[in-house]
Symmetry: C2
Subunit: 524 residues, 2 copies
Amino acid sequence: MKMERGIIPRKIKGFRDIDASLNELRQHIIRSASAVYRKYGFEHWDTPVLEYADALGKYMPDEDTVDQGVYNFRNPEEEPVAGTDGNELRDADAKAIMEHHALALRYDLTAPLARVYAERLWQDVKRKQIMETNAPLFRRFQYGPVYRYELKLMPGRFREFWQLDFDTVGTNDVAADAEACIILAEAMEAIGLNRGTYVVKVNNRKVLKGFLASIGVTGDQEEQGVLRVIDKLDKIGWSDVEAELGTGRTDSSGAAVPGMNLHAEAIGRIMRFLRSATGVSSRKSVLGELETAVAGNNLGMEGIAELKNMDALWAALGFDETRIIFDPTLMRGMAYYTGPVFEVESLLTFKDEKGKERKVGSICGGGRYDGLVEKLLGLKVPATGASIGVDRLAELLRMVDPAGVTAKGPVMIAFFDDDLQTQYYRIAAELRQAGIDVEVYCGFFKGFRKMNKQMAYADAKNCPAVILLGADEAAKGVATVKNLKLGKELALTTFDKKEWNAQVQKEVPLGNLVEYILGLPGMK
Amino acid sequence: MKMERGIIPRKIKGFRDIDASLNELRQHIIRSASAVYRKYGFEHWDTPVLEYADALGKYMPDEDTVDQGVYNFRNPEEEPVAGTDGNELRDADAKAIMEHHALALRYDLTAPLARVYAERLWQDVKRKQIMETNAPLFRRFQYGPVYRYELKLMPGRFREFWQLDFDTVGTNDVAADAEACIILAEAMEAIGLNRGTYVVKVNNRKVLKGFLASIGVTGDQEEQGVLRVIDKLDKIGWSDVEAELGTGRTDSSGAAVPGMNLHAEAIGRIMRFLRSATGVSSRKSVLGELETAVAGNNLGMEGIAELKNMDALWAALGFDETRIIFDPTLMRGMAYYTGPVFEVESLLTFKDEKGKERKVGSICGGGRYDGLVEKLLGLKVPATGASIGVDRLAELLRMVDPAGVTAKGPVMIAFFDDDLQTQYYRIAAELRQAGIDVEVYCGFFKGFRKMNKQMAYADAKNCPAVILLGADEAAKGVATVKNLKLGKELALTTFDKKEWNAQVQKEVPLGNLVEYILGLPGMK
C-alpha cells in the first residue's frame, strides 16, 4: 500500500467557520452589549491572542494547572529568563540564561486583563509608589476569541469561542458588583431578550464559606468538595445532592459515586440553606433565611451585608425580582471568585433532537475576584466583572427567532450580455449612491454565466431582488426587477407560474429604478 | 546566587495591547471599509485563528516554506493521518496511523479563504460534480489578527496585526479586479483619506512576464531575480536598480551586492519599461508605452488587454487618474499573484524622529491569484481580492489628525459622600436614559476616594464633564458641573484661577441636569 499523505482542506476539530448569518448575530450581540458597557463608562481595550503562559497564570475553571485545557507551545525565539526582581538570571559564568518561553493561547479575557493591569503598575509597585490604597481604577470591556483545549468535545462546545467581558479593577465597593448585575440585565434586553425570559442570579462566596464554617465544614479540601457537589444540583437534582453529601450513591450506569460522608445534621442544614430561595420570591426574604443559616458567623454576616447593599441599590434603581434574584445554590466554576458571584440564566426552553424540552441555562457569568491581580503584582487589588458567552447567546437567539438571523444580501444585477457590462456597473453605482447594497454578478467565465446558476446564487445569498437587463430591455430603456422576497412568499400560495411571474416580475423604466428598488418592502 | 524565576507581567515581544483610543481608530476603519465592502455585495465571514499548517499552504510572501515566519506547533491531540483520497492511512497491521498534526496561527486571511472554499467543494470535486466551469462564485470580507514570526523585528512592525480583506473567488473576469480597485478607493475615502492624498496603483504580472520573455529573461529563477530587484526600486532608487540588474554594486556599508549580469540591451529595455509611467499622467499613454515594450509577446498582450478593460470600466464610472493609475514598477511581494496587482499608496508624508520628511507608502495591497485554490482543491478556481493593513492605516490616521483619535470618555459623577451613593447612581441612570454615557466613580475603598485622584482619573479618561454633588449641594437641590473640555482649553489662556472656575464650573439645579449636560459642546 502506498503511503502518500494528502493535504485535505479542513478545520481543526472543535474549530469552525462563522458564515454571514452567524456573524450578523455575533456582531449584533457585540454592538448591543458594547453600547451598554460604554454607557457605564467602560472603555474598549484589546490584548493579544497569544501570551506568555506564566503571565496568564493558573486560573482555569476547575483546573489547577495552566497546561491542562490550554493550547500552549514554546516560543520559537530564545529569551533571557528573569528572576523575581525582574532582572535577567545569570549562570556561573555570568552569562544570561536563555530559554524558549512557554506561550499560550488565552483561555479567557480576565487573565490578560490582570496582566495588562499588573504590567502597567509593576515598576511603580516595586518602587512603593503604588500601594493598596492608591491602586488606580480601571474599567474596560473587551471581546474576542478564547481557546480551550477540551479533551472530550461535547456537542455544541467549541475549542475557539468568543467572549465579551467588562471588568472594574481597583474597587472593593460592592456597588460595582451591583452595577455589573444591572449592566448584564440591560445588555440582555439590548440584545433582544425580553424581560421575563432571563434572570440574573446572585450569590456570595462569603455567605457560602461562612455558612459552611458555621456547620463545621472548614479546610479548603472539604469546602471545595461540598461546593462541587452543590454545583451539580442542576444536573443531578436535590436527592442525589443529598446522597453525595452523605454516604454516596449509585448512578444510572450502576457506578458508585462516593459521598462526602458529612453527618446528618450538617446535611440537613446544607439542604435547608440551599432551599432558602425555593418558592421565595423576594430578595429580602432570602436574605432573612440566609441570616438564620449562617448563625452569626463573621464571614457569612459580611457576605450578607454586601448582598443587602446590592439589594438596596437595585431597589432604588427599579431592578426588582423580575430581573435580579438571590440564588443560594449558585456556585460558578471559577476557583478565583472571592465575593459576590452572578450568572444570567435564560428561562427559555427548546426541544432537543429527541423532542425533550430543555432549558438553555447559563449565558453569562461573573463575580468578584479580589486575589487575581495579586498573583501577578504582589499587591492586593480587588476587582469584579462579568463575561457574556457570545457564541452561546448567538445560538440562543437563533433558536428564539430563526428567521431573524439570516444576513440580508445585496440587490443583484444579473449578467446577460457582454456588451452591457459597463451599463450594469453604471446602474450598480447609481443604486449604491442611493444607499443600496448592489452586486453585479461576475461568476466565472462570461460564457458560462447561466441564468439558473445566477438565480440560485442570488437565492442562496438572500438577495431581496434581482435586476435583469438584456439587449431588448436596454433598447426599450427598461429593466426587469424580480422581487425574490415576494417570490419566496408567493411560492407557498401561488402555483400558477404566469400569475406568480406577473406579481413577482415588474418592468421598470431605467430612470425609475432607484426609486422602485427603494420602494420594495424591507429595503429601507 | 539564588536562581528563583520570577513571573513578570509582560507581553510577548512584537505583541501589544490596544488601548481605547487606538481601538476607536481600528473600529472606525473596520466600520467604514466594511460598509463599502457590503455595498458591493461582499458578506462578512470569520475563520479560526488557528489552522492545520498543511491546509494553510506555503504562500507566505517571499518564503517558500510555511515553517519560516509562521508560529506553528503540534496539536496536543493525536489524529489519524489522511491519504490523498481523504481516507485514513493504515500501517501493516491495518491500524490507523496517528500523529500530532502541525498547527499554525494564520499568517494572512487569504490562505484560510482558500481553505474555506476548498473545504466546501472538496467532496463535490472528487465526485466530479464541480468542474472549472461551474465552480461557484464566493464574495466575502473578513477582518481580524494575523501572525508573523518575524525574526528581526523592525520598529513599528508587529508580530500580531490586523487585516481587513475582501475577495471574489470563482471569476476570471477582470471586471472583478477593476471593481476591487474602485472599492479600495472608496474605502480610503470612507475612512477619511481625502482624494489626492492616496492613489491606487495597478500593474499586471502578465505584462511583466510577457515583457521579460520578450527580452529573453525566462525561467522562474531569472524572472524572480529581476522582479526582486525591481521591487527594491522605492528603497534603493533607479541607478542602484540598474546596477543590480547588471554587474552588481557596493552598498553604503561597503558590502558587495551581486548583480543579475543581464546584458546591456536587456537592462536598457527594462529601465525604459519601468520608466513608462514616469511623468505620464494618462493611463492610456502608459498602456501605449507598455504595448511598445512587450513587442507582441502573447502573454504581455493578454495582460495589456486586461488593463485596457479595467481602464475602460474605471473611465465609465468616473474613476480617473486622480484615484487610479498604472504603475509598471509595482511588484507586490506575494509569489502567488498571477494577473493584475494593485496597491494603495498614501501620498502623505511625515517627519521622522530625525526630522526627515518620509512617505507613509503602501497601506493596502491585492491582486489576482488564479492558482491558490488549485493547490488545495486540485481544481483551477480563479480569484482576486485585496487587503487593508488596519494597524498601518490606524497609525496613518493618527499622524494625520492626532486630536481626532482620542476615545471620548463618559461624563463622570464624582464620589463625595457615602450617604449620597444611591443618589449618584440614580442621577447616572437618569442621564443614561437621555443617551449620555456616565460613570459613577467607584475607585477603591470609599475612605480613600480623594478628589484630586478622581479628577485625574476623569482627565486621563478624557471625560467631557464631571458632576460634583456633596451634602450641601444635595440639600440645595443642585450639583456642580465641571466642564473639563472647556477647562483644558481655558487653561491655555486663563491664568486667573477664580475666572477659570467661574467659566468652567456651573451650579445646575438637579432638575435641569440632563438638559444642561446635553447642551455642553460636543455632547450630542
